[in-house]
Each structure stands twice: as structure tokens, then as C-alpha cells.
Symmetry: C2
């Protein structure tokens, strides 16, 4: 299978210095080593540093030895310390391009550029690999963490073409695909596609603390989906949210306005369910949500709805899924996407298989013939 996923040939010059050896830094080290690039590791915590080295993410340069100068420095610290580390690295390595991989960009760029020399400013470019996980720390590091993910390259007005090219090569070398935009555009984008979902998921999940145990037994896939990212790291997320305060505030103000419309309608409805203004705002928010959700690109960046779902009721017996997917494979049908739904207390699941529309009917007939319980579309 490995042959299906060719490793890129590294365009990044050795050595790369990675400052901050947590989950992302250590994963980046592993990915670069796998691509044949030499990696120097640094971290304020000697234990984190040694762990990343022991995992194979890079070497710890001996300060007494003649250490080769890095061509590229990657700052992978929490967002609130990224700018000062970038400035330190620009000063310490005057021949290197320096990039940070924090999730917010405008505040960091502003702090980096404030009073910077033209040369220092030219050597800085921001990055944001969209490859978070709910955990943190080098022990979760993986060379494939960035594979198949967007990596946003965020030049400032002062970034040199060479600096931008170095960041783009880095992203490609670890298997990401490159998206390039300015800091303000980036911050607005992640406010709506990442930071607002995080806040709303956390707020929603926090409401479960007041719920009865019995209420939670009624939890279905909808609640599970909407609260999955609520299992987030608070140290990291406080820094992200406060670091993107301006863009996030605009989103939160808009959300509060929508909620006020819903709440106003609900309060009208409490007095009289058919009162003027009791239904219209509820209809508007559901329909507006329909339209917004339809804008999210499907797999491969294609339009949503490119695939047809085939739903199969699967018993929870050893090997049932293996049997199902084995038989789907025998039927010669490629699965474009999949999901599974469970309810508490039941030993069956609904497996949703997305296939190209022209394959759906044949797959359903074949699975039916083989004795599977296919849920009608």
C-alpha cells in the first residue's frame, strides 16, 4: 500500500531547525527525516526535547560543537510565545528563513515586524498546517500527521519570494497541499471554519454538565458529531482564541444576534405558538443553515452530493465489518466515504457507505443478495 502514497522528494535544504518539540514540532521532524532532511531540535523543556529526539524527530545539536547553520527555522511553540521566539531565531540565524506554524497569524506577524530590520522582515513568513489533534505532546507525534492536509502559507508584505518558496516547499515535503493567503484573510477564514465551531461545540458540551444521566442515554449521532471537538486542549485553545480575538469577535457577535432572533421567536411562541414572529425566525435560521452547510466542499474539493449513500445495518459480531467491506470489495465498488452510527445499549450499527451514484443501486442489490439488511434510500 505504501507504493500508493509516494513520499515527496524533498526540496527543503538541510538542516532544518525546529523550535518547540511538542506534537506538531516532533511530527514535522519525523516527516522531514522521512523525506531525507536533517533536523535540529530545540525546546525550553529538556524532557520534551529528549523525547522528540528518542522518537527519531531529529538531533539535539551539541552547543560546544561546530553546528551547521540552518537554512530554515520552524517555530512550533504555542501561539502566545511564537512571535518572540521568531524574533530570537531571526537574530540568532541571520542566514535562515524563519516560519512559525501557529493557528493565528495577524497578531504574530505584527509583533514580528514591529521595529524589525528590512532583512529580518524579509526572512519571516507565517505558516499554518491544518493538522491539529485533540491531544498534545511529542508522544502523539507522527510522520504522516500533515499528509493530505491543507497547509496555509501566510506571507507578510515584507516576506521575500525566497522565504515564501521555502515555506511552500516545506509544506509539500511533508505531504500537505499548499494554500496561500494574507494574515487577515487567514484569520477571518479560521475564525469561521475552526475557532467558532470550537467555541460553539464547547458551549454546547458544557450544557451537558447540567443534564440528567437519562437525558444522556438519548444522545444520538447528532450530539456526538456536534460535540466531538469539545474534547480540546484548553492551554492551546485559550491561546488560539485570544490570538484571533478580532476576527472571532465579529463571528461571535453575529452568532449572538442569530441566537437572539431564535430566542425572541421561542419567547413569542411561549405565549402563543402562532404569534406574529414566533415561527419566521426559526424557519430562517434552519434554512440559512441548510444553505451554509451546502457550501462546505465535499471530498476531493468536489461539490457536496457527488456521492450516494448506501446504509447497511451491521450486527456487532466479530468480523462483521471486515465481512461487509470484503464483500463490497468483491462487488468491485469503491467506497468514497464512510461513517457509522450507534445508539447506546444496542449491539447493531448503521454503516453509511458513500459511492458514486451509478454504483449505488447495484451495490444495494448485491448486498441484499448476500443477506445484508440494506436501509432504503
Amino acid at each position: 500500500m505504501t507504493a500508493d502514497l509516494p513520499r515527496p522528494t524533498a526540496a527543503t535544504a538541510s538542516p532544518v531547525r525546529i523550535v518547540g518539540s511538542g506534537l506538531l514540532g516532533a511530527s514535522l521532524g519525523l516527516a522531514l527525516r522521512a523525506a531525507g532532511v536533517d533536523v535540529q531540535l530545540a525546546d525550553t523543556s529538556p524532557v520534551s526535547l529528549a523525547l522528540a529526539r528518542d522518537l527519531g524527530a531529529g538531533t539535539i545539536p551539541d552547543p560546544a560543537a561546530d553546528v551547521p547553520e540552518p537554512a530554515l527555522v520552524v517555530v512550533s511553540t504555542p501561539p502566545d510565545v511564537a512571535a518572540s521566539v521568531v524574533r530570537t531565531e531571526l537574530a540568532a540565524h541571520p542566514g535562515a528563513v524563519v516560519t512559525d506554524i501557529a493557528s493565528v497569524k495577524a497578531v504574530i506577524a505584527a509583533e514580528v515586524l514591529e521595529g524589525a530590520s528590512p532583512d529580518d522582515a524579509a526572512r519571516y513568513v507565517g505558516s499554518h498546517p491544518m493538522a491539529g489533534r485533540e491531544r498534545s505532546g511529542a508522544s502523539g507525534a507522527d510522520a504522516d500527521l500533515f499528509a493530505g492536509r491543507p497547509w496555509v502559507v501566510v506571507p507578510t508584505e515584507s516576506s521575500s519570494p525566497a522565504a515564501v518558496a521555502a515555506a511552500r516547499s516545506l509544506a509539500s515535503d511533508v505531504g500537505s497541499f499548499v494554500v496561500q493567503m494574507g494574515a487577515a484573510e487567514h484569520d477571518r477564514a479560521v475564525a469561521v471554519v475552526s475557532h467558532l465551531p470550537q467555541v460553539l461545540s464547547s458551549v454546547l458540551a458544557s450544557r451537558l454538565n447540567d443534564a440528567d444521566e437519562t437525558a444522556l442515554d438519548l444522545a444520538g449521532q447528532g450530539l456526538r458529531d456536534t460535540t466531538r471537538i469539545a474534547a480540546a486542549d484548553s492551554r492551546l485553545w485559550t491561546a488560539i482564541l485570544t490570538g484571533n480575538a478580532a476576527a472571532l469577535r465579529d463571528e461571535l457577535v453575529a452568532v449572538r444576534e442569530s441566537l437572539d432572533h431564535v430566542l425572541g421567536a421561542i419567547e413569542q411562541g411561549l405565549a402563543d405558538p402562532l404569534a406574529q414572529g414566533a415561527i419566521g425566525p426559526l424557519d430562517r435560521v434552519i434554512r440559512s443553515g441548510n444553505e451554509g452547510a451546502a457550501r462546505i466542499p465535499g471530498k476531493h474539493g468536489g461539490a457536496p452530493g457527488r456521492y450516494t449513500e448506501v446504509t447497511v445495518l451491521v450486527p456487532d459480531n466479530p468480523g462483521a465489518l471486515g465481512r461487509l467491506f470484503g464483500e463490497v470489495g468483491e462487488a468491485g465498488v469503491n467506497i468514497e466515504d464512510l461513517g457509522i452510527e450507534h445508539s447506546a445499549g444496542q449491539r447493531v450499527g448503521l454503516v453509511r457507505l458513500s459511492v458514486v451514484p451509478q454504483a449505488a443501486a447495484g451495490l444495494e442489490a448485491e448486498l441484499d443478495r448476500r443477506g445484508w439488511r440494506v436501509v432504503a434510500r
Copy 2:
């Protein structure tokens, strides 16, 4: 495989009359017919009614003929008309138990019981099968729609034990598992586990209408998960939300308060990121969300975290998933849960396999040996 999912032996007496032949009514008819129960169908729309009959959900009684009296009437209309239909059915079928399957219960029970005779009141019991879909209409009907789902039986203070038993048998006969609670408790429960997630998902998705195309290219699994249920039917959901106004208002007020705390902190942080009160509230909402999300029961009603995730990078080639699951099956490991993550524009996906903790390391080693790229835990 069908043998793995034994059909229950019906305890429900024939015939059952189903009023409303949309998705849920027609699915219920199919499920009861499959369990050997006779079903009479009714609907205000002759076309919907004929469609449900043609799908095999039941028969349309000839008003001129001598139609057998139903022992049980199931009202599966939209929530806003359920109570008046229940009253009509109680009057028309004085020997029958009548239940409705709408998603809200207290307002319907109050309207049913208002001025009802003791006998009518005794024959009514509420139901709520937790088996919605994002679509509607009989054409999506399926006999397995209720299998493995919770079905809440909601007696009033007047419901007779026989009426409650009839609703419980109905739920079991279509493969659901029965949860019993009062109307107020039910409405509070679904406000937090179903209606609030719907409102927040719709509000979140509605924000995407203002986003740039490029921003949407950065959408990851977090946004997809949190907005999946935003593809909801507005006719149904306006009736549900307004029908549960009291319980939903309490949740929305609490959410607005949480959002105000977040927004207050963000605004403090805009002036000075380390101002008093800029970080604490953000930390609190993330941590509170951690705790709330951890309360959601895992599969089979067990505690979350019972399973260990093994993540595999899968190329998007024909048959790759079939090969993967075939090889997982050969390794003798049972998959307890699964999911897949994609990014726009990439032809690889991350497949997450949940397995019992003691099987994880062996499965990782085996998949690695077979050439799969396993992402480290």
C-alpha cells in the same frame, strides 16, 4: 447476516392504525408488517397514502367495508397537529390505545388531556422514537429505521398500565429499546441532546454564507461534524422547536450567557491579551466542554474511552477500504467503531478504527507489516 439480527416476535395486536404516512409512519408500517402485524394506513394526502401502501407499509381500509377496529392507533403527523389528531382518534376508536410519535411531548399531552374524559385520558400515551433522518416523506421509509434506536415511552398521569404496555410492545416489536420517562423530563432531555445541538449547528452553518470560497477550502472534519445536522428539514424543525419552547428557552438562555462570557473575554483580550478576565472565561468554557463531552455514553451505553483508536492512512484507490477491512478481518480483530477524515483536494483519507485496547498494538503491528501507513497513537 440476517440470522444475526433476529426479528422480534410481535407482541402488538393486529390491526394497528397509523395516521400520517410520511417517513416515520411508513417506516413503522413496514416494520410492523415485517413483524407480522396488520397495518391500516391513513393520511390527509391521498398521494402520500397511496405511496405508503405501494411501498408495502399497510392497507387502505375501504370505508364502505366492515373494517376491523384497531387495538392501537399511532399518530405520526407533524408535532403541531398531533394533539388534535390524537383527540379525533380517541373519539373515533373508543376501544383503542392511541399514541403519537412526535418529538415533543408536554404540549401535546396537555392539549390531549384538556377536558378529556377519564376513559379517553387513560387510553393516551406519548411516544418518541429517536429515529429521525435529515429527509422526510414515505419514499425514504425503511423497516429498519427504528432498529437499535432509543424509543421513549412517555405516559401521562392518566395513562393506563395497558396503554403504557401497548406503547412499550410497539417499540420492542420494531427493534427499538425502550426508555420511559415523564413529558417534562423528556422535553428537558431532548432540548439539550437534540434541539439545542440543532439550533447551534444551524446558526454555525448559517455563518458560512458570509465566508469566502477560500475559507471553505480550509474546512476540516471539525466543521463537517459540527454542521452535519444543519441539513435539517425546516417544516419539521420549526414545529419541533416551537413545540418545546419552554425547555429550549432555558437552554438558549444558558448558552447566551456562556457566549457572553466568551465574548466579554475576547473583548478584554482585544485591548490587552493579558488583561484581567481575558483568559479565565475562555479556559472555563473549554474545560467545561471537556467535562460535558465526557458524559456522553460510548457505544453500547458504556463509558467513553472503552476503545482505542488505530488510525490508518488509506489511498483513494478502488478497493483500498475493502482491502483494509479484509485484512483487519484476517487479523481477527473486531472493529467497534470507525470514521474517516478527508481534506479537500487530496486523494487520501485517514481511517479511524476503534478496537478494544488490548487489540490495538497487535493490529497496528499487523497492518504495518502488511504495508499500511499507521498513524501513531
